[in-house]
């Protein structure tokens, strides 16, 4: 009995140590990013590697924020505008679609549900290049309205998420409201929407961070006139002599990533639920 207990304790300690080592490896790149953003450029580009800066260079951050050549304020506004223009309609439209699938039973519903699921298997690449060709012809390139239009189309994953969520609502709610003469849209707005804070928050975060963190779509469909943070930070900042300054670039990267990390940390529980319902991974 005693040896058995000893073995179990040993086993769980070993498991803890292994997990801790892997966790350190996984977090190390993020720590490296933060430390590098506080180094002098000469400290970052020296061999042997300087692990810690002699004095933390907070100036890297003020430099990034104030340098007019970087234009980080403008890029932030652009990123924020695109993300919100996409996320807000995307979440609302998806909630409405999920409500229709969960609560309105009509012929053709299952057909559309299958269609919805099938679209999840269509690779984005098959649609993105023809979209570019068409938008180039009709002048939608470098137009931020595109993100609003994409958002208004909703998202299959999120419709599924809302459908699951709304399926668990008691039907009596609808029936009572219906007798009161409320139409389905009024029921959705007055009863369903106010009671879906958690899925609204998750889908909003996923759509928002999807655009905020996207680089491909923005560099394909926008030019430098509408430069976003992703586009601005994809190129290293340079000093007045035109040499790249990676430490300041890293400071910009920390500022760029920070809002997402904070939002994710605040909403961990709901995110786990969201991932499990859709199989979508953020």
């Amino acid at each position: 009995m005693n040896t058995d207990k000893f073995r179990r304790t040993l086993g769980s300690n070993l498991a803890f140590i292994i997990t801790a080592i892997v966790a350190i490896i996984w977090v190390f790149p993020v720590v490296w990013l933060i430390i590098s953003s506080l180094k002098l450029e000469t400290e970052l580009t020296r061999w042997p590697v300087v692990w810690f800066p002699e004095t933390p260079q907070w100036g890297n951050y003020t430099q990034v924020l104030t340098d007019p050549r970087v234009g980080i304020i403008n890029a932030t506004i652009n990123s924020l505008a695109l993300s919100l223009m996409f996320a807000i309609p995307n979440v609302l439209v998806s909630a409405l679609g999920g409500y229709a699938f969960a609560r309105i039973k009509v012929p053709g519903r299952n057909l559309f549900l299958s269609l919805l699921l099938a679209t999840m298997l269509i690779p984005y690449s098959v649609t993105i290049i023809p979209q570019f060709v068409v938008y180039a012809q009709i002048g939608l390139i470098n137009n931020r309205l595109l993100w609003l239009l994409w958002g208004l189309g909703g998202s299959a994953y999120m419709i599924i998420l809302f459908r699951q969520f709304y399926s668990s609502f008691p039907k009596e709610l609808d029936e009572a409201a219906e007798i009161d003469g409320a139409n389905p849209f009024a029921i959705f707005v007055r009863i369903y929407l106010p009671n879906s804070a958690a899925p609204l928050a998750v889908t909003f975060l996923f759509s928002f961070s999807g655009v905020w963190g996207d680089w491909f779509g923005q560099s394909l469909f926008l030019t430098s006139r509408n430069e976003t943070l992703a586009m601005a930070l994809a190129t290293a900042f340079t000093n007045p002599m035109g040499r790249p300054v990676l430490t300041q670039t890293f400071a910009g990267i920390v500022l760029y990533a920070l809002p997402l990390v904070v939002l994710y940390l605040l909403m961990q529980r709901q995110i786990v639920q969201g991932i499990l319902t859709t199989g979508l991974k953020g």
Binding site: W26, K105, V126, Q268
Partner: protein, 336 residues
């Protein structure tokens, strides 16, 4: 209250079948109205572009005006399949893409399953560990790319510095000569968080009696993992594998950004050509379409990729009967 009763009365007074009919029509109206945004989105952002892309693949469209378009029949497809038989760029890129996809799905699955099984018990600090493993998934792509470019740098990178402590004189050119490996490491790092969450939930859904019974019978934790956890999770593993393969064969942005070839410079540009080892199929499609302005040929390659994705998905689903364990237990209620 009065209004309610009036409402009930008035429906009762209507002829039964007419009332039902108009009610159904109204319900259908609401249903399709609510779904209209998604249907429009599907039409304009999925179906129409797909049809246009498909039509484009039979032309010589060069991205300019539509006046010079000529119908070229199956020429583009013939050229693509010609590449497959003559070791052309498209064929080599496809081979690299498949080898990346298989390796990276395997590596990601093994790491995620192991971490999930370690964290699904009641280990100290498991919530903190979960957050730490999910951290990379929170970062925007451009952020992760810069971090790994710096970590894996040949001259002043942290990985070489750490290796240098153990094997002095190490200068592995990760991003150039080990580019394929770098891409797999990068993908595994970012992909662990989401997969881990899904597998932890899956493991927690396995009845503990099963694992306990095996332990009592003298099975080691590793045997329990291999003979109980993995088979019971196989439907989930299957689903994640399908998603991983679909995403893997479409890999485009990470090779361009993480491992730019000569002339890539310090920045990240969409037209950068990655080093040879990471010149993937989608990169080739992008190069043919946007840099060489052969949109017709690019579209043909895209449709070959689409067909390949469908075939791979069907293959995985069909063969899943052999290796996926679908639980049949009439006594267990759903959600238990």
């Amino acid at each position: 209250m009065l209004r309610n009763q009036v409402g009930v009365l008035s429906t009762r007074n209507q002829p039964q079948f007419l009332g039902m009919g108009s009610r159904l029509w109204r319900k259908m109206g609401w249903f399709y109205l609510f779904l209209a945004p998604w249907i429009m989105g599907f039409l304009f952002f999925v179906l129409v572009p797909m049809v246009i892309g498909f039509l484009m693949s039979f032309t010589n469209f060069n991205g300019g005006n539509f006046n010079s378009i000529r119908f070229v029949g199956l020429d583009n497809y013939a050229e693509a399949f010609g590449e497959f038989f003559s070791n052309g760029d498209a064929w080599l890129a496809l081979q690299r893409t498949l080898s990346f996809t298989i390796t990276s799905v395997l590596v990601n699955t093994i790491i995620a399953l192991s971490i999930a099984s370690l964290l699904s018990g009641n280990m100290r600090g498991r919530t903190i560990f979960r957050t730490l493993f999910y951290l990379p998934a929170m970062l925007p792509l451009v952020a992760s790319i810069w971090v790994f470019r710096s970590l894996l740098d040949n001259n002043v990178g942290a990985l070489n510095a750490i290796l240098d402590l153990i094997f002095p004189g190490t200068h592995v050119p990760w991003l150039t000569q080990q580019a394929a490996l770098s891409l797999i490491i990068f993908t595994a790092w970012g992909g662990l968080g989401g997969a881990m969450i899904i597998y932890i939930a899956g493991i927690q859904g396995i009845p503990t009696e099963l694992r306990d019974a095996a332990t009592v019978d003298g099975a080691s934790s590793f045997q329990v993992f291999l003979n109980i956890t993995v088979p019971l999770l196989s439907p989930l593993i299957m689903y994640q594998t399908v998603l991983g393969v679909i995403g893997g064969v479409q890999v485009l942005v990470t090779p361009i950004l993480l491992t730019p070839g000569a002339g890539g410079g310090g920045g990240m540009s969409i037209s950068t050509i990655p080093v040879r080892a990471n010149y993937m199929f989608m990169v080739h499609i992008y190069q043919e379409s946007f840099n060489r302005l052969r949109f017709g040929y690019g579209s043909a390659l895209l449709w070959i990729l689409f067909a390949l994705i469908l075939i791979l998905t069907l293959f995985l689903v069909r063969t899943s009967r052999q290796w996926v364990y679908y639980e049949v237990d009439p006594d267990r209620k759903p959600g238990e």
